[in-house]
């Protein structure tokens, strides 16, 4: 494989960011942010650390990221041509697509029967995990740092020792009649 130039890596990153932002969208990081489409307020998968997670070899997909980005841009160029969407404004084809077209491509690539479905689902899975569980960092640190996904989901903080304990957990009263055919030990008859 030819050595990567900084441009290649930058294009790969913006392409993967645009994919991650399609899965869990966020707000633009700056006025000139092209990767993040800006269709949602607050942080999305990109701000949550999707690239950091994808680039960690523990995921098993790190070695394939060049191919993911290249394939995504190939599909995007074909999609853009088919739909008459102009590309070639200095960003990779997938990044140049508006959010709705990025989303349409993700739906197509992950639909039952698509030959590359499993690959795109795995990429989406890790983008989602960056947001909903911050799988690239310790959960306690992520919460302390105001991780956008965990914070937005309202994950309660742990005790000082980093473990969760809830002092109140129950309405504490009968809330339904039990099934008449229940055994003494609480099983179905």
């Amino acid at each position: 494989m030819a050595p990567q130039t900084p441009d290649d890596h930058e294009h790969r990153t913006t392409t993967l960011e645009a994919f991650a932002d399609t899965i869990i969208p966020g707000e633009k990081r700056s006025a000139g942010d092209r990767a993040v489409a800006g269709v949602s307020r607050g942080g999305g998968a990109v701000q949550a650390g999707a690239i950091e997670l994808l680039e960690w070899d523990a995921t098993g997909i790190t070695g394939g990221l060049d191919d993911f980005a290249a394939a995504l841009n190939r599909h995007a160029a074909a999609y853009a041509a088919e739909h008459g969407i102009p590309t070639g404004d200095g960003v990779p084809p997938f990044v140049s697509l508006p959010y709705e077209d990025r989303a349409a491509m993700v739906r197509w690539l992950t639909a039952p029967g698509h030959p590359e479905k499993a690959l795109w689902v795995s990429l989406a899975l890790f983008c989602n995990m960056a947001y909903d569980s911050a799988a690239h960092m310790s959960t306690v640190d992520a919460l302390a740092a105001g991780h956008p996904g965990l914070t937005s989901m309202g994950i309660a903080p742990p005790d000082a020792d980093g473990l969760w304990r809830f002092r109140a957990w129950s309405y504490g009263r009968p809330l339904a009649d039990v099934h008449p055919a229940t055994t003494e030990s609480g099983s179905p008859a």
């Binding site: 399609t22 899965i23 869990i24 969208p25 949602s40 960690w56 523990a58 995921t59 098993g60 989303a103 993700v106 992950t110 639909a111 039952p112 499993a118 689902v121 795995s122 989406a124 989602n128 995990m129 909903d132 569980s133 799988a135 690239h136 960092m137 310790s138 959960t139 306690v140 965990l150 937005s152 989901m153 309202g154 994950i155 309660a156 742990p158 980093g162 473990l163 969760w164 304990r165 809830f166 109140a168 957990w169 129950s170 309405y171 504490g172 009263r173 009968p174 809330l175 339904a176 009649d177 039990v178 099934h179 008449p180 229940t182 055994t183 030990s185 609480g186 099983s187 179905p188 008859a189």
Partner: protein, 548 residues
């Protein structure tokens, strides 16, 4: 070194099926070695952390198949370490199921009555709590109240949880840090070790061959303790008796891979897999309506907003567990917790999308989620293809994520039952504006199960069951299967209790087979803590099980 390691009984896997067999055989005097694919963690190592590489991903496996993905334990203690500890007995009608073979699936020797003494043995060995309403989590209470509002009953679910030490942290899938969950690490396994059994973690069994003297040789690979994609050498152990309990997604794969050495396997090996009919629905609650319609209040101004709090499933609706209803229309609807990580991506937003802005808005209301777990009667549609290079999957990530060979194409019976259960969830939870309910999508990773079953099942018909009613692999005397693979089909409730009862019931036959092979072993150990009433209760069933 040419010396061959030998043992009397080699047990593959340390979950319910393996631990129960190892305990009884070791207590009866046999030399027992247990090989476990996953690591050996103790309670102090169970972390509250979603980071890749924490206990959550070390002890837990997610194997993606074609149409079915399987979640299971991958550690010493197996499923018991990562499960939610619901331990109901299976309803009576389950044992009369006919399923896809149109005649009774279970062996004639087993029904609810004949299994009852074995359930009792399990209940004496693994402390199971009949939960009261004080133990029921907010999520369970909410489900109960919604069921009552819709004219239905709801039951606290019996669970292997010490409610006096449980802190309701809902980290059960990462292992219980507080030893509240009564996993096998607290009962059968230490008792087996006390009787001399050995446990070897990070030993992944690949296949079995047969020696000239009739003993079996087990071939294993040592697995790297952090990156499970890497291996660190191979080895073999000879044994007179093999107990396979690698889990229903792995046991048939070992037998398939052994076929060139052992000869043809029964037709049922790697066929008739059931996902226990499982499917999830997510309700997003309207907090105002929770207070107004159900009158629920946590006392701090909140109606619910407590998805994170609890101990897995605490309340189930069992109104459809009615033997007079037709097959494929009976199911339970159980409140469940599913952690982030794998627990959100398959949930569908109101507009049907699994990603995008609407999904993100749904995630913002995560604390108001209530997850309902359906267990319907499926059609045993799963079939395993040819085994992968090693183990039961091509591992993608260093831990947890792999691609297996299971294919599952749901039949009209299964799809119909899921649709019926989906409609009932909607009917109960959308009443009076309580919530919006959507099912998890099956389009991304297929259906999914946390309770794989039946891929190597017991039965009376050699064509549709890999095992006889004593759990011996047909045509391969001395090889037994005691895990979820042996259960004939979906149970409509959580299966750990039934898997365990069947394993207890299988022991007398395994002891008899070991004795035939010259192993000095007897049957009759008490419960791991020394209690004896379970043994007394099952004693009258033992002689028949020891006769071939």
């Amino acid at each position: 070194m040419n010396s061959v390691e030998r043992t009397d009984v080699l047990v593959v896997g340390t979950g319910f099926g393996g631990a129960i067999a190892a305990y009884h055989l070791a207590a009866g005097g046999a030399k027992v070695v247990m090989l476990e694919r996953g690591p050996w963690l103790s309670s102090g190592e169970f972390e509250h952390d979603y980071k890749l590489g924490s206990s959550y991903t070390r002890i837990f496996d997610f194997v993606v198949g074609d149409g079915m993905s399987v979640l299971g334990g991958n550690c010493v203690g197996g499923g018991s370490v990562v499960y939610f500890a619901a331990m109901p007995r299976a309803p009576r009608f389950v044992f009369e199921r006919r399923g896809s073979i149109h005649r009774r699936m279970w062996p004639a020797a087993i029904d609810r009555d004949t299994l009852e003494p074995w359930y009792d043995r399990v209940e004496e060995s693994i402390p199971i709590t009949k939960q009261g309403w004080d133990d029921v989590s907010y999520a369970g209470g909410l489900w109960a109240a919604a069921c009552r509002h819709a004219g239905r009953t709801a039951n606290p679910v019996p669970a292997a949880v010490d409610t006096s030490t449980c802190v309701n942290c809902n980290w059960m899938m990462a292992g219980c840090r507080f030893d509240a969950k009564q996993s096998l690490l607290l009962n059968y396994l230490p008792a087996a070790l006390a009787h001399g059994a050995e446990i070897r973690p990070l030993h992944e069994v690949q296949s079995i061959s047969r020696n000239a003297d009739g003993d079996y040789r087990v071939h294993y690979t040592r697995v790297h303790d952090e990156d499970y994609r890497q291996t660190e050498g191979t080895g073999t152990i000879d044994a007179k008796v093999i107990v396979l309990a690698a889990g229903a997604a792995a046991t048939p794969v070992i037998l398939q891979r052994s076929e060139p050495a052992l000869g043809p396997m029964p037709h049922g090996v790697g066929r008739y897999f059931s996902g226990n009919g499982e499917r999830l629905n997510t309700a997003v609650l309207n907090e105002d309506r929770v207070r107004e319609v159900l009158g629920l209040d946590r006392g701090d101004g909140l109606g619910y907003a407590a998805n994170q709090i609890g101990k897995g499933p605490t309340v189930a609706n069992w109104d459809r567990l009615d033997g007079s209803l037709p097959e494929y229309s009976r199911y339970s609807l159980e409140q469940l917790y599913f952690p982030p990580g794998l627990g959100t991506i398959l949930a569908l937003a109101e507009d049907g999308s699994w990603f995008g802005p609407r999904k993100k808005e749904m995630l913002e209301r995560w604390q108001s989620w209530l997850i309902i777990f359906q267990m319907i009667e499926d059609d045993n549609e799963g079939v395993f293809g040819p085994p992968p290079a090693r183990g039961n999957a091509d591992r993608l990530s260093q831990q947890m994520l792999g691609v297996g060979r299971l294919t599952y194409k749901p039949t009209a019976n299964t799809l119909g039952a899921w649709a019926m259960a989906d409609a009932e969830c909607k009917d109960i939870l959308e009443r009076d504006g309580l919530a919006t309910v959507t099912p998890w999508t099956n389009d991304l990773v297929g259906a999914y199960t946390v309770h794989p079953l039946a891929s190597c099942r017991i039965g009376d018909d050699p064509h549709t069951s890999a095992l006889d009613d004593r759990h011996e692999v047909r045509g391969h005397p001395g090889i037994f299967v005691t895990d979820g693979s042996a259960v004939p089909g979906a149970l409509t409730v959580n299966p750990a209790m039934t898997i365990s009862a069947l394993a207890e019931r299988a022991i007398p036959g395994i002891v008899a087979a070991a004795r035939e092979r010259g192993v000095e072993v007897t049957y009759g150990a008490p419960a791991p803590d020394g209690s004896t009433s379970g043994r007394r209760g099952a004693a009258h069933l033992v002689p028949a099980l020891m006769r071939k």
